[in-house]
Amino acid sequence: MKVLSSYKNGRLTLFFKGELDHHSAKKVMNTIDQLIDEYLPRDCVMELSGLKFMDSSGIAVILRVYKRMNEMGGRAWAENPPRQPMRVIDASGIDRIVKISTTMKE
């Protein structure tokens, strides 16, 4: 599991790649915490299309990023979850708290 990132005009985009479970979640959250501390972004986009697998540990990560951004007065949302992560998101109901959107890819 890896998190790549890009930053532009106040927006931090996090690219999730691989399998996000309890084993990988702690390292992922540390990486993200450091990136947020470094850029202090206004928006934080979690781009999920590279996820090969995600369980409820991923739900906890998404919620934590959302809360951190919220506390800073910023916004956070998730984009383009593949089918399996989307089913986990659906079952958890976090889409009532965090926006999950689908963007068109060129």
Binding site: F53, A60, V88, A91, S92
Partner: protein
């Protein structure tokens, strides 16, 4: 119920084994010819149950986890995951969505996901003696190509 095939596995509660456990069950389930979606559901449920053993049953030590899977009548996969750890006092409460004793790193959605992804979920525990989670999922029979 007649057992058509089975596997029994045992491994220590190391987090690296979460990925192993769900992959191994997926390999075993392959003989039922599941769709990718069915396989994804089963892997997710296994991941939740095994993670619970690692995080909640043995919070400060490495303990033993047992995972059994078998194929029973009606193209159904049964999975039993067992630990010998802390146990759960109030199972009903533990199964509620968002309930967690695990702090910020847990979402409290583990049992909710197991329940919604599998056809049946049974949780048994006596405090101090561990937890046994039994799950069943029927795989739809598809007509051959």
């Amino acid at each position: 119920m007649k057992t058509k095939n089975y596997i029994k596995m045992e491994f220590p509660s190391r987090s690296v084994n979460e990925g192993f456990a769900r992959a191994a069950v997926a390999c075993f389930a392959a003989q039922l010819d599941p769709t990718l979606e069915e396989l994804g559901d089963i892997k997710t449920a296994v991941s939740e149950a095994v993670t619970n053993c690692i995080v909640h049953a043995y919070p400060d030590s490495i303990g033993k986890i047992s995972l059994r899977a078998r194929i029973i009548d009606n193209n159904t996969l049964e999975i039993v995951i067992k630990d010998w750890g802390k146990g759960i006092e109030d199972i009903e409460k533990a199964r509620e969505p968002m309930f967690t004793t695990g702090g910020e790193e847990r979402s409290g959605m583990g049992f909710t996901i197991m329940e919604s992804f599998m056809d049946k979920l049974r949780v048994r525990s006596s405090p101090g003696r561990g937890v046994t989670v039994t799950m069943r999922r029927r795989i739809a029979v598809r007509t051959a190509e």
